[in-house]
Amino acid sequence: MAAASYHTPRLLPALAVLSLGALLAVALSVSTGSVAISTAELWAVLQGEGEPLHRTLIFDLRLPRSLAAFATGGLLAVAGALMQVLLRNPLADPYVLGLSGGAAVGALSAMLLGLGSAAVSGSAFIGAIVSAITVFGLAHGTGSWTPTRLLLTGVVIAAGWGAVVTFMLAIAPTESLPGMLFWLMGDLAYARSPWPALTTLLALSLLLLPLGRSLNAMARGPLQAAALGVAVKPMEWSIYIAASLLTALAVTTAGSIGFVGLVVPHMLRLILGNDQRLILPACALAGGALLTLADTLARTIIAPEQLPVGVITALLGVPTFLLLLYRSR
């Protein structure tokens, strides 16, 4: 693949193509299921006509789930891109600082106590935020933190959460195990209203847009960024808080779905170059589209049984990513 060309002229076309792709992914997702809905029928429903059954299927069941999948995928991809810039480490993903572990401990505790899905979501969110604050506080220590220190603290805390999760799985009654395992692999069946995740995704994407060029400078390291006029510390704090919030909302919506946050930013960088002004909105769109498609497959491949969506994201993502990487040499 040719090296990415100078970006400014390709910003709008790239985002237009991705938006169209995202729209198609959602349309495909709401038309697919136990009752197939044709394009004509979908159009009729969107016009406010069509059969009542179709209307119920689309607006009450499929669309909320599709939008939740879209929002979750977008949140994870943007959070991943931010973490990679913050830590200047291409291996960073949204969970690298232990957020998914904290959320998992929160969610599984609620499940063990037999609480409802609202409580599961709520305690997952609290767990994620507790983890973010713990890692940042510990990494800060007495001096200032460095990416390596933050990363190591995150990895160790994640390992700690992992042990707690394994312990909970070991003592959990057999009947609650499938639910817990599905949550751990990521499952949109838990998704409630898609709106908190969707509005946060939109709001934060808009807020991050003007920071794009500063993030480009940050990707060159803190000294270089400071010499180019970036206020590095406030910037690092903003990235950390934004990424934590995005990830916490994503795990709250759909459990810890792997792979999207790590690989979508890299795929887009391989195709579009590494201008954050393009990469961040592109991540929101492409991450959303990927997870929407993955969720559609997850609930249709062996219907009426459902697969955890994390399985599909990995099955789709691994070959795509390897192909892009292979061709980029």
């Binding site: 480490n89 060029r213 500063s214 390291g221 590095v232 170059g273």
Partner: protein, 265 residues
């Protein structure tokens, strides 16, 4: 038009595990090229970072065109000062053009995209560093010398009136060393101030007006290049005997070594 652009007042740089050494009190005027010489670990890079406001001094103040640097915002500093670092991290892929354009960052507001004028400035800088035609190459595919010239081109796009460059001749072949040093002289001729950390005494002798010698114990002396360039002082600085040659009125310093007389083969 002597006007001080960068000034160090009672400045002690913070090198861990070292006593304060001598206080630095110097002022770099418009049109001057300063060279900092010293052995490895003497604190040349620390001094440069301190002058750039990127590192707190142990005591004293750096003044940028009359303002204490710690009172200025990073963006205000970046609009006046360009820094070429010795080390660069490129964890993420970027093209040469994307890379050089980042030098316009201090002048663009959050919502601005780079204009045609910015693109022109970037192209001119690339041309000056003989990197034209490489705009779409990935930085990771460049040679060490090309990366060094790219870093200098990026600093050129900042159109700064103060230049701080840490070993700008690193990785460069002789032709490009001369090209970069001549460019620095041009910057000074346009009324800018330039400070370079150098390890090559002869580049310093040829291109610098003022020299600052930095000793490993924290002591320092500075002054006119013609006065500072004395073999005994430089021999003490580098703990290395030197031979001085004269070429077209220019002193050339080369290290004197024991002649190898043994059977080397």
């Amino acid at each position: 038009m002597s006007e001080v652009l960068l000034q160090a007042a009672q400045l002690c740089i913070d090198v861990p595990g070292r006593s304060d050494g001598s206080e630095l009190n110097f002022a770099i005027q418009r049109g001057e090229v300063w060279g900092v010489l010293g052995p490895n670990g003497a604190g040349k890079t620390t001094l440069l970072h301190t002058l750039a406001g990127l590192r707190k001094p142990r005591k004293g103040t750096v003044y940028l065109a009359g303002s204490a640097i710690q009172r200025l915002r990073r963006r205000q500093i970046a609009q006046q000062m360009a820094v070429v670092f010795q080390e660069r991290s490129d964890s993420f892929p970027a093209t040469v053009m994307e890379s050089v354009m980042i030098g316009r960052h201090p002048f663009l507001s959050a919502w601005d995209m780079e204009s045609a004028e910015d693109l022109e400035i970037a192209r001119a800088a690339l041309a000056r560093m003989e990197l034209s035609g490489m705009e779409q190459r990935l930085v990771s595919s460049l040679s060490g010398g090309e990366k060094q010239r790219l870093a200098i081109a990026t600093a050129m796009t900042q159109q700064a009136n103060i230049w701080l460059a840490d070993e700008p001749g690193n990785h460069l072949d002789l032709h490009h060393q001369v090209a970069v040093m001549s460019m620095m002289r041009e910057q000074a001729a346009q009324g800018n101030a330039v400070l370079l950390c150098l390890h090559d005494i002869n580049l310093a002798a040829r291109y610098c007006d003022q020299l600052l010698l930095l000793y490993p114990d924290g002591n320092a002396c500075w002054g006119d290049a013609s006065i500072m360039l004395q073999a005994p002082a430089l021999e003490k600085l580098y703990r290395q005997p030197l031979t001085v040659l004269e070429d077209q009125g220019q002193r050339v310093f080369i290290p004197r070594t024991q002649r190898h007389t043994g059977n080397e083969n």
